[in-house]
Symmetry: C2
Subunit: 696 residues, 2 copies
């Protein structure tokens, strides 16, 4: 343990404690709000039960997977226990740190479900009193999760580094967070979209009954899905991104070998970001002439401004490098810019959503074509933003020499994610108010309340796009710095194997055919991975649509509303199906990394990671944005444009939304995690790839 | 001029003469076949007129563009005429060779239209006598084009090298072919899909009248589109690929500097490939128990086998390197494997098409989702194939040292395209029989004849997928070797600018942030490019659908078949719209290359080219294959499965096909050309990027 670091770790623990205390306060605040409506309480209970059933079954499978992998890690990492250089204690640390990563990721998901299912009904009832109290309920419910997720990440990283003192053990922790996030995102994503798509297709299109109509057998499953996919999955995802960004910065900081200051800086920026978020969350509310969208966005901007000020102060006070501060600030600002660009393509007050809505009046094929096309175009600003922030961060830190430029890139990612607690709060707000809208409808709270809930929901959709910009951008930057971490690990392995200096890898040259080989295959993997998830939803939704048709045929009085549908059957289909589809896609990503490593060696893996990042960023931006675009185009039509509800344009827009659902909530955001997992697998197995390969 | 090369150039001219003579024979053979049906003759004439109108207007615009660009080339390339080292004669050569490239590309397109519009009616009438004579007519019509396109390419390359003696001047020729192909493909692609999509949407979906029904105002435009898009555009595309592969091999061969033998080898393989194609074409026919698909595929296999035998013989006889022969053979065989993989995903006797057809019965969203997912997965085998063939070619030639490994990769591309004359014949067969089917319907030749035409058409669709595998694969390999050519050009420029040895570029390291910057932006360009083309079709088709609606409202008796629609108005909309949309997408690709070059310098451009190849290959494979998959799923449903025509599954499948149309016939295949154009622009401007840039 470096002694100079101790105060920074102590401060980290202090800010974590503060965040947990504030979260507890908000939790109690939410819990104290009244619930009266019998139906809402009942349905809310059904949703909670469904979500917990799924989570329990999912975590059982993932626990077995994690234990198996922990055993493999214990045997192999950081060095095989049978090798001469192995230190058994390190292998134990690595395996345990992996398990802690998975456990904290699971906790993050579980907390999300707990708070979200607590808030949704209360938010619906608060909407009867107006938009302001309802907003505050949804937002503070989400904030509990945001604070706890980021607190857990900082706590885990600080504690492990405090105990072990070696940042490379943190790769195990990060891998634990990622591997669980991969499956939680995939499983939850398949669940939520199975239910959502089936409910929409049968309800809105075939039967012509409203969204969230209690006669629809899939309606509870749909609301459960919002929780297990958007809340738990998203929480695990951002926990993972946050950990990966910090860990890659810490690994590089330690390799810089110039004292504790750089390591301290990572922790300092992380706890200042959390502190800024606490302030941003505490001050968020709808102002005099405000809207929910403005309130959410202003919480992001307030957090951003406070973080920039605090981190500049700390840099001045503690003598950190201004160049690295500049890199962090660049990351954060580019994150905001990417968010704004995304907003342009998905906000229904901007022209693109209107164009797609207009195209819908010519038929569904035009909805799909125009949405696909704008989705592709929307990737451009974010790609430029990520490319530019990496270039600027690198060039800023280049005069510092050594590995500092790569450290600069990793600090850009840390900067981009510094405000992540606020971002998660905004993001978790979405499914809470989405649920609240459903509950308001089912509880018969009246047209006015539903309209308020609708407005809250629409704000959630728009802001989601902005926050996704952050998480995709940060994943891009993190993975670039992980590429640097991978090269460091490879060279350590080459040295350990007795290789000479000229054997060390100093570059991954795209003209090297082994690198190129890796690039092409790496680029294909996100496409295959997302395709498998989409097919999972597709297959599963077909099963559920068949079940819904069966119920409407066999249950008499269902259509008239005199009989109740069998909600549990639909929840069961979604659960079983998504658990069946969840492992294969993730395994394809992990095993293809292993295969390429053993065929082409470390150079091929360098290429593989690059190809994976490039096509992964492109596809996840495309899918997230086109999905958001279709969703909001549908909402735009439903609000009375292009013929409004029931028109041909509406039918087309619903089809677009259905296609977009698994794009934006299953495949798109899972690609993020897939990229991180693949990078970590590569770093962890680098020694094996150096020793055994066919062509490298 | 190297004297040892003369016999090889002479043999090239001889084989070209042979190919032209054979083409002339086939042309006369086709022309002698009878045409009797009055309607068919009339409609055939309308199609020809429409196609010629479009081509004339398109070529007028492109001629101005080409002349402008030729002036720029004269001023700047290979060195600015005001610079000390400029040789004015070289600048003239470069500009003239550019213009010859554009002119031959235009000729290739024009010839295609001529023969296709000659064959379509005759093929329809021949179908009355049975499938065998009709097949032969369609195939031989296509073969005229295949022979002439490849003959022109070999003639142009041989003649310019014979006169100038400097392979780098051929970059101008290749750029001429590419730049024209880019716009011809984009313009023709937008035209054909505007008409096709509008005809399908209004005819099949809204009015419930059959495909090619003469009451549909868009029906002639649709048939014109087959010619200007699939025939002329495809011809220009493959002319370009073929030229680019040869030229990049020749540039590298000359830089190898070990006598004329390597240059001779390129020509030798090129004319042997043409010879093999002549034999393959001459022997193609439907056997005793054969089908059109088998006949087309066997022509490919016969050509492949003959080329492998001939080139092995030549290698043994003339003392060429067996390693390089191995690289060529690998390229060719991988091309066949890619084709077979593509076939698996798009042939309606294989499971994938059936799965998508089945998904369609749950609604159009499932058609889109499953088609998208399988389209993504289908990219994997081709990506692996291209990666593996590049790696194998490189490793085979690595022991030869120097630039031989890169030469090996370029010869893999030459090998993959050696059979291109047969491939074009198979490809051009498609739109001819597609037209014939339309004419059989309009000419009232009876159900039996239409069924024969349908069978011919379906074979065309399947084989198209296989041939696309070749052209995408070859583009991938060619561009890798162009990346090598680019590095050579950059280093020449650095030396010319007085740079020291340590300034020379020896690698494009993905860890270099300038390279990485280029990679990310390069990866976004094919997405933006294809999006612009799709939006072009989308906008244009909306205009045409509105016009069709207008005609059905305002022309009395149209629905009943007693009045004639205004075909010309639809042709005019398609023409005007596609000419308006054709330039911007191409300019985005070219200008973004220039912008990245001036911002990041040659290293950024190296990354840009890589990002462009990687995402370009992924997206073009995805789009071509998912488009083919949707088209054949629709045909599969129409042949009586999943409820057959008029069922819900059919409606969904038609929507899938409509989405797939611009994917597979506008955007997908245009990306190929876009990649080549960008690579050539980069090579040509390398000296400027070395001299002027912001960060490099």
């Amino acid at each position: 343990m470096m002694n100079g670091l101790t105060p920074f770790l102590a401060l980290s623990f202090l800010v974590v404690a503060l965040a947990f205390a504030f979260a507890a306060y908000l939790y109690v605040w939410v819990k104290k709000k009244p619930t009266k409506n019998k139906t809402i309480i009942d349905v809310s209970e059904l949703i909670k039960k469904g979500a917990n059933t799924f989570m329990t079954r999912e975590y059982k499978i993932l626990a077995m997977f994690a234990l198996g992998l922990a055993a493999v890690i214990f045997l192999l990492l950081p060095a095989p226990i049978w090798s001469a250089k192995a230190q058994i204690s390190k292998n134990i640390y690595m395996a345990v740190s992996y398990l802690i990563g998975t456990a904290l990721s699971a906790v993050a998901g579980k907390i999300g479900i707990l708070v979200a299912t607590l808030s949704n009904g209360r938010c619906a009832e608060a909407a009867q009193k107006g938009i302001k109290p309802a907003f505050l309920l949804g937002f503070r419910g989400g904030a509990v999760m945001g604070l706890l997720v980021v607190g857990c990440a900082l706590l885990g990283v600080s504690a492990i580094l405090w105990i072990v003192g070696d940042a490379s053990i943190l790769l195990g922790f990060s891998f634990g967070a990622s591997s669980l996030a991969l499956f939680a995102k995939a499983g939850g994503g398949i669940f939520t979209k199975t239910a959502d798509v089936s409910a929409d297709i049968t309800g809105k299109v075939e039967l012509g009954i409203p969204e969230d109509d209690p006669r629809n057998p899939a309606v509870i499953a749909d609301n459960v899905g919002d929780n297990v996919g958007d809340v738990a999955g998203m929480g695990a995802d951002l926990f993972d991104s946050n950990v990966a960004a910090m860990v890659s910065a810490l690994v590089i900081a330690q390799s810089l070998g110039s004292g504790f200051l750089n390591t301290a800086m990572v922790f300092c920026y992380a706890f200042l970001g959390l502190l800024a978020s606490i302030i941003g969350i505490a001050t968020a509310r709808i102002g005099k002439n405000g809207t929910p969208t403005k309130a959410l966005n202003s919480s992001t901007y307030v957090t951003t401004a406070i973080f920039l000020a605090l981190s500049a102060g700390a840099t001045a006070l503690l003598g950190f490098s201004w160049r690295i501060w500049g890199a962090s600030a660049t990351g954060l600002l580019v994150g905001v810019v990417i968010g704004l660009a995304t907003d342009y393509f998905t906000d229904d007050t901007k022209p693109i959503v209107k164009k797609v809505a207009h195209a819908s009046s010519s038929g569904p094929a035009f909805t799909i074509l125009s949405g696909t096309a704008y989705g592709f175009i929307s990737a451009l600003p974010a790609m430029i933003g990520i490319a530019a922030s990496a270039l600027i961060a690198y060039k800023l830190c280049e005069p510092m020499g050594g590995s500092f430029p790569i450290f600069g890139i990793s600090m850009a990612a840390v900067g981009m994610l510094s405000t992540v607690a606020t971002i998660i709060s905004n993001d978790a707000y979405g499914p809470i108010v989405d649920n609240a809208r459903g509950l308001a409808e089912m509880g018969g709270l009246g047209e006015e309340t539903i309209e308020i809930a609708d407005e809250l929901d629409s704000a959630g959709n728009t802001v989601k796009a902005v926050t996704k910009g952050f998480s995709i951008g940060a994943a891009g930057l993190t993975v670039i710095s992980l590429l640097g971490a991978f090269m460091t690990e490879v060279n350590d392995a080459i040295r350990a194997a007795g290789g000479a200096i000229e054997d060390l890898i100093t570059s991954f040259d795209i003209m090297d055919p082994t690198v190129f080989f890796g690039i092409l295959i790496g680029a294909a993997i996100p496409a295959v991975f997302s395709a498998m998830l989409i097919l999972g939803v597709d297959k599963n939704a077909q099963r559920m649509v068949a079940e819904i048709h069966r119920q409407f045929k066999s249950i008499k009085g269902l259509r008239e509303g005199t009989a109740k549908p069998d909600y549990d059957k639909c929840i069961d289909i979604a659960t079983t199906g998504s658990l069946r589809e969840l492992l294969p896609a993730g395994l394809v990503a992990i095993l293809s990394t292993v295969a390429v490593g053993f065929i082409g060696g470390p150079k091929a893996i360098g290429g593989f990671l690059l190809g994976n990042i490039v096509s992964g960023l492109l596809l996840s931006l495309f899918m997230s944005n086109s999905g958001g675009l279709w969703d909001n185009s549908k909402k735009y039509v439903e609000s009375g444009h292009e013929g409004g509800k029931g028109s041909e344009a509406h039918k087309s827009a619903v089809i677009g939304d259905t296609v977009g659902d698994p794009f934006k909530d299953t495949a798109g955001p899972s690609i993020n995690t897939q990229i991180t997992v693949v990078s970590l697998v590569a770093s962890l197995l680098s020694a094996l790839f150096v020793s055994f390969n066919l062509f490298g």
